[in-house]
Amino acid sequence: MDAKTIIDSLVNKFQDSLVDAKVDSDIRVSAYLEPEKIVEVCQYMKDELLFDHLSSETAVDYPKRNEIVVVYHIGSYDHSVLMTIKVKLPRDAPEIESIVPVHWNANWYERETYELFGVKFNNHPDLKPLVLPDELMGDWPLRKDYEGFPNRTARNLV
């Protein structure tokens, strides 16, 4: 299965919700997606296009554009094309449907994205902090406007 076929199939199926779908190279394709469609697209890719390996899921903060972009890298165990799906969310209340029902290992990636960026994943089975202590919840350390030291010194945490 090559990159061109994959992107054509996706554009045909999800014409209205895919924006800027393009082939970056032989093994990389990317697209922006409307937030509502994420579970449906992941399910379609898994069932029809053999994208069964969620390689990573993360977010990027763009304070100037007032956006948080959630980035999904979905690959396959059977072919070497890797798809990058980007979803733009408003920065003040980022919320998106969880893809755990499709990709089981999204669980920890979503917990991590939640605690570091404050993106809320709806219908996630167990949305709680993974690597951060509870005291740091709500600070969203990987956002660009995080002040960090010294507003959270060890003394303040005690």
Binding site: H53, S55, N105, L130
Partner: protein, 374 residues
């Protein structure tokens, strides 16, 4: 995990400090008698915030930081980071440097597998195994020391090349080290696969079938032991791997013994790859003369863009997602380590086994908490 316990059930915490662990994490187990009913993992005891640190360092300053994600796989971490920057900035690497990189990365694979196997031996109560493998690992480390000047955190790769050429006498020394390691691997095979106690503890225990492994998102030797030939070096060749002859080692059983056997085979393959590289080593520079980057330019600006670069770590798929905004520091770096999904897959894997097998199964997955936490 549901914390309520029924009759004859109890909760046991393994860790955050425990001899079976490769680093601090907590494994909560709900037991009924000796059987594991449920389990979950708590991370965060060694969270270093490396992704945030990298945002505040220039590209060159990032190289020593990525070494410290996990010291066992420092070389492949560097390759993933440096390779991502090279793709973003469109920097070409001379062929000679590519060969040197393959050599050091395969050496890194050898020493990682050796330590992993020694630790695994310790977990199943075979402490001498650790002494055997650590002796051979020290030989490999001294080979790496010859090339990079450091045993574990090397800071050896540069954008567009490597720091130094191979030293005099490297080839001769590697021949001697590999000859002894090959003998040792034959011995490890005997010690493991022809031992009655090992057979009882490791054959047919902790079975992961290929469908479950795919669903859990596992990669690396743990996945290949289930029969899925997924290897980034073949699927998405980087450096000169496409010119080299090597096979993807797989097994079919998916149990503990299969994972160990895949690693033993991979060590033989790694030595074979290094020997090919030493034979085919082209002459030429380790940096292109007109390269803007490399050792002489501490400050470099990388064009705007983003990339997801994957390499094959000793434990599986290592990826760097890097976003650049055109400045001298990365805008965002996401490290996709192989151990993160592997550790996530541990609780479903140990469900239904006995508590005595937990350490053996966890050891055979070859985890590293430092990398999972970042």
């Amino acid at each position: 995990m549901d914390e309520t316990v029924g009759p004859s059930e109890m909760i046991v915490h393994l860790g955050p400090q425990h001899p079976m662990q490769p680093g601090p994490f907590r494994l909560n187990l709900k037991l009924k008698g000796e059987t594991v009913v449920d389990g979950d993992i708590e991370l965060g005891f060694i969270h270093k915030g490396i992704e945030k640190i990298l945002e505040n360092k220039t590209y060159l300053q990032g190289i020593p930081i990525v070494d410290r994600i996990c010291y066992l796989t420092a070389m492949t971490n560097e390759e993933a980071y440096v390779g991502a920057v090279e793709k973003l900035a469109d920097i070409e690497v001379p062929e000679k440097s590519q060969y040197i990189r393959v050599i050091v990365e395969e050496l890194s694979r050898l020493q990682s597998h050796l330590l992993g196997m020694g630790e695994f031996g310790e977990f199943i109560g075979f402490v001498s195994m650790f002494m055997y493998t650590i002796k051979e690992r020290e030989e490999i480390l001294s080979l790496m020391d010859m090339v990079t000047g450091a045993r574990i955190t090397h800071t050896f790769l540069r954008f567009g090349g490597v720091r130094d050429d191979l030293p005099e006498g490297f080839k001769e020394k590697s021949v001697a080290v590999f000859a002894s390691l090959r003998e040792q691997i034959a011995d490890y095979d005997k010690l493991f696969n022809h031992d009655e106690i090992y057979k009882l503890r490791c054959f047919g225990v902790g079975i992961l079938d290929s469908k479950t492994a795919r669903d859990l998102g596992v990669s690396g030797p743990a996945l290949r032991a289930t029969g899925v030939p997924f290897d980034i070096r073949k699927d998405e060749p980087y450096l000169v791997y496409k010119d080299l002859d090597f096979k993807v080692c797989t097994a079919t059983d998916g149990d503990i013994a299969a994972r160990i056997n895949v690693r033993l085979e991979e060590m033989l393959e790694a030595m074979y790859i290094i020997e090919q590289c030493l034979d085919q080593m082209p002459s030429g520079p380790i940096f292109f003369e007109d390269s803007l980057y490399g050792v002489r330019t501490p400050v470099m600006r990388v064009p705007e863009g983003e990339v997801f670069h994957r390499v094959e770590d000793p434990r599986g798929e290592m990826g760097f997602y890097m976003v650049s905004d055109g400045s001298d520091k990365p805008y965002r770096v996401k490290i996709r380590g192989p151990v993160f999904p592997t550790m996530q897959a541990l609780p479903p894997l140990i469900k239904g086994t006995t508590i005595a097998d937990v350490a053996a199964i966890a050891g055979s997955m070859d985890g590293c908490t430092s990398e999972a936490d970042r």
